[in-house]
Symmetry: C2
Subunit: 216 residues, 2 copies
């Protein structure tokens, strides 16, 4: 009875993407409750697609079942945050291991190109550009595993931890340091020595994790 022509199809995705964005960008803060009916009004759709979007985000761990009713933006205790990063840490290390075992010239090139973009953005102190480039860099590594299942898990963690990792990059120096760290990491991964690659990634992740936890 409202809104005549909506883009038939894709309402669920639209809602999901919008919520994801709101959460990443901090419009919705951790612990905030989400009301189905409210979202219904906001997006001009009925409860069914809203409900499915919420359900998907819950499955991804972005939202959690609220204490009494409904869902809320996941908020993590310090300990839970540490556990999530520990898991992510292990996944990344595993990715590095796999990549080092089967790096192709194409993959290597993609990673290097992504890294160049990181350096440029870092030097220009372009935060949002750097975040995007950094994302591409890591995604390129995931893809280089040649294993979509590993890549998916790694990607999921990255999405989930996005809001927390973002806080790490406060100053120009943070960006430069991260870009330098990428270089070291790459040299390990491209060494084709899986032991060195996983150790290198482990060091990278430990460092990154410490800074992130400090910033949260």
């Amino acid at each position: 009875m409202e809104k005549s022509e909506n883009t038939r199809g894709g309402a669920v995705q639209r809602v999901e993407a919008a919520l994801l964005n709101d959460i990443s960008s901090g419009v919705l803060s951790p612990g905030e409750r989400l009301d189905e009916v409210q979202l219904t009004e906001r997006f001009g759709v009925s409860r069914t697609p809203v409900r499915e979007a919420l359900s998907r985000l819950t499955a991804q761990g972005i939202l959690v079942p609220g204490a009494k009713r409904g869902v809320q933006v996941a908020e993590y205790s310090r300990e839970e945050l540490a556990q999530i990063f520990e898991a992510m840490h292990e996944i990344e290390v595993a990715c590095a291991r796999i990549v080092s075992q089967r790096i192709s010239l194409l993959s290597r090139s993609e990673i290097e190109i992504a890294q160049k973009a990181c350096v440029i953005a870092a030097e220009a102190n372009d935060l949002s550009g750097f975040l995007q480039a950094n994302e591409n860099f890591h995604q390129a590594i995931y893809r280089a595993t040649g294993n979509p299942y590993m890549a998916q898990i790694a990607s999921d963690f990255r999405r989930r931890t996005g809001p927390f990792r973002a806080k790490k990059f406060a100053s120009h120096e943070d960006l430069l340091a991260s870009a330098r760290s990428h270089d070291v990491l790459m040299s390990h991964i491209f060494s084709e020595d899986s032991g060195e690659a996983s150790a290198g990634m482990r060091a990278h992740m430990t460092e990154s994790f410490m800074q992130t936890l400090a910033a949260n």
Copy 2:
């Protein structure tokens, strides 16, 4: 009282569980298409809960979007199967690493109790009993990581690969061999040397994976 889980969505969960069971037990074979309306009739519910159940199973990777329409039971090429097991392999190794770093007496005891049950079932050549005990054994290891997020991922892979792993246990000797293999694995994990633990798990998984792939 861990089982006092909320019973939100009785029908959805009923459908989801039933389908999961059908898939594990082979009633539904890989590649088989699932028709919403058919399921609607079978379970005597409307499309909404059926749809949500399918959606959840799809998110878990148990079902995949069909080529033309609808969803179908995931079927994997040999290569995809290898990739899934490679990923699972890495996750299990990571779990072993973590466990070895912080094994508690309680966790150790749980693992040992589960292993005892495995041995008993294996010696009695009780296949379904062994599968259950084996499941408990691995879940005990996951729990011992103290990291619910790692445990969740590992558990998801286990569910997903269940149908394929089951085929590995064809003879009495297979069960006994698996039980023996557990013993070796435990000695590595309990060594509190993370390098040894991950190497041990890596060997265990490689062996197990080779047999599974051979049986599929």
